[in-house]
Amino acid sequence: MPEADVVLEVRDLAKHYPVRRGVVLKRQIGEVKAVDGVSLTLRKGRTLGLVGESGSGKSTLAKVLVGVEKPTRGQILVDGRDVTDVGRAERRALRRTIQMVFQDPYTSLNPRMSIGEIVGEAFAIHPDMAPAGDRGKAVRELLDRVGLNPDHVHRYPHQFSGGQRQRIGIARALAVRPRILLCDEPVSALDVSIQGQVINLLEELQDDLGLSYLFIAHDLSVVRHIADEVAVMYLGRVVESGTDDEVYERPHHPYTRALMSAVPVPDPTRRDDGLEIMLEGDVPSPLDPPTGCHFHTRCWLAPLIEGSVDAERPDGRPVPAVCRNDRPKLAPQESPDHHAACHFAADVARR
């Protein structure tokens, strides 16, 4: 694919938070590497799904991308231009390119503003988007666009259901005609029958407006449905990325495999397929992540590698020294676009 198609690129992005102790003399006693060297590429008209469990850093990444948090290191490129350290004016202009749709449609809308005001607020900040006289009309068009009744502009958020509120959130994001939407768990607060409606709306908008989505979710099935490319995060790092078929059908990282197998398949006749790889324990604390490969403490593959008697992990099972000592690089697998960060990626595919 030609590089011209790339609308958003993230290079080695990191966000570290200092951890301080003490009241008066605040000593820094460590840092949380919430995002720890992440690289991503989003192409025009495509959807990049970002999956991971709590603590994987996916929401922090979103915050850095929209400029709410400053990155500790790395670059963000929009249309090939480095926007990591832009000033206020440019940051404002940038917001026209990237907009965000939030998870919780109950807390992300101001309860004291009518939906007309919520959606039209963007025009007050970016007056050239719609001439003053046409703003009412523009708002009504946006509401219609997302499947809401334009006559409801004077209603308040509490008069709408969760699914409708999420549509309001989408209309607000679309007001400045962005090209990139950053969707942070946009359907996880919704009932199943409503989720589908919102996902279908997002897909429709993408086709009609040529939008690019960075779609952050913990629900792997939803991401499978909507994404063209997928990146899997674990403790601040991308452990696998590729097209959605590559990642879902031929996972090359043991974490991806385990994650996929933990998703219950809605078919009772398949419950005894024996596909499930159990991961023991919780995700380790990002304050004190394991050395080497972050996943080695829970990895199901590491103890099975021959000759992995070098060291023991907390549960007493052996781990190859390389997993414990060296951070694995995101390396290309069978196809050049499919990357996995595992010293034994080939073994994952074989088993």
Partner: protein
């Protein structure tokens, strides 16, 4: 979770034609309307529904935990081993449940007391009801945490809820529920707030404990994937009513209610990359104004004139010992069988 238990086993818990109303400023809301189900030892009944379907209210009614008023049990029976709990009066009702029926809630952080150690909370019931000494209670707390596979139990009983991760907290909740060795466990969305890898661990743990103790399990959830994995029987709820009841295999193989069918079609699946998700149009009814006739008719693709006027009988019997509340249940089921 197994089929080894003969079907003739007497039910532990029976709910019959339960109806619950709430008085609200907007009028009287019927949250549950004619729900019946039963649970036998070692089996799992899944109650499935979206928000507002009445699935949680019905379990609070079973436990005797509804605030009355504004809630009111309009009619129905709740029996534990044949004994009518509603006839006992609220205090005795709660006492029987406290002893034999336990409940696990979704939000473990909100359900645990932040100012007491986990060990203290685990054994509160044991000290109050069994009169255990501090020392014996302490030992029990460690055993309970061991049972739910919390590592370093001896240390962790001395810690506070905020020192536990989400998954570990939910294990503590389960341990607490098991303290008095209940015969029935009602789990209300026990894994909804958890990551999938942790969810898998918790569901497996629940299954093991259930099989070992031959508990009856009532699993309240919105997740059709979890249901497919652990349930024996399924009750699908919509607008306070049980719209379909059948064995888990029958429900997934051939749903007999259009709502169940639509729900199953609308789930995005990991093993299928489809184009365009099937969608249920509209949204669940506002409980203060449930549509006339069949409450699902405005969203139903099979609806005819009769559905707009006549509510379907609450449980139309179908082959294979299953029921559905739809005028066209038999046809819908046969369609699905192809």
């Amino acid at each position: 979770m197994t089929d080894q238990v003969p079907a003739t086993t007497t039910p532990l818990l029976e709910v019959e034609d339960l109806a619950v109303e709430f008085t609200t400023p907007d009028g009287v809301v019927r949250a549950v309307d004619g729900l019946s189900y039963s649970v036998t030892p070692g089996r799992t009944m899944a109650i499935v529904g979206e928000s507002g379907s009445g699935k949680s209210v019905s379990s609070l009614a079973v436990m005797g935990l509804l605030q009355m008023p504004p809630a009111r049990i309009v009619r129905g029976l709740i029996r534990f081993k044949g004994e009518d709990l509603l006839g006992l009066g609220p205090a005795r009702h709660r006492a029987v449940c406290g002893e034999h029926v336990a409940m696990v809630f979704q939000d473990a952080l909100a359900s645990l007391n932040p100012v007491h150690t986990v060990g203290w909370q685990l054994t509160e019931a044991l000290r109050a009801r069994r009169g255990l000494s501090r020392r014996d209670a302490g030992k029990q707390a460690v055993e309970l945490l061991d049972l739910v596979q919390v590592p370093h139990a001896t240390q962790r009983v001395k810690e506070y809820p905020h020192q536990f991760s989400g998954g570990m907290r939910q294990r503590v909740m389960i341990a607490m529920a098991l303290a008095l060795d209940p015969e029935v466990l009602i789990a209300d969305e026990p894994t909804t707030a958890l990551d999938v890898t942790v969810q898998a661990q918790i569901m497996r743990l629940l299954g093991e404990i259930q099989a070992e103790r031959q508990m009856g399990l009532v699993l309240i959830t919105h997740d059709m994937g979890v249901v497919a994995n652990v349930a024996d029987d399924v009750t699908v709820m919509y607008a306070g009513r049980a719209v379909e009841q059948a064995s888990v295999f029958d429900v997934y193989a051939a749903p007999a209610h259009p709502y169940t069918r639509a729900l199953l079609r609308s789930i995005p699946r990991l093993d299928q990359k489809g184009a365009g998700l099937a969608v249920i149009p509209g949204r669940p009814p506002d409980p203060t104004s449930v549509p006339d006739g069949c409450p699902f008719h405005p969203r139903c693709e099979r609806a005819e004139d009769i559905c707009r006027v006549d509510p379907p009988p609450p449980s139309i019997p179908l082959p294979y010992d299953r029921t559905a509340a739809c005028h066209f249940a038999e046809e819908v089921m046969n369609d699905a069988r192809g």
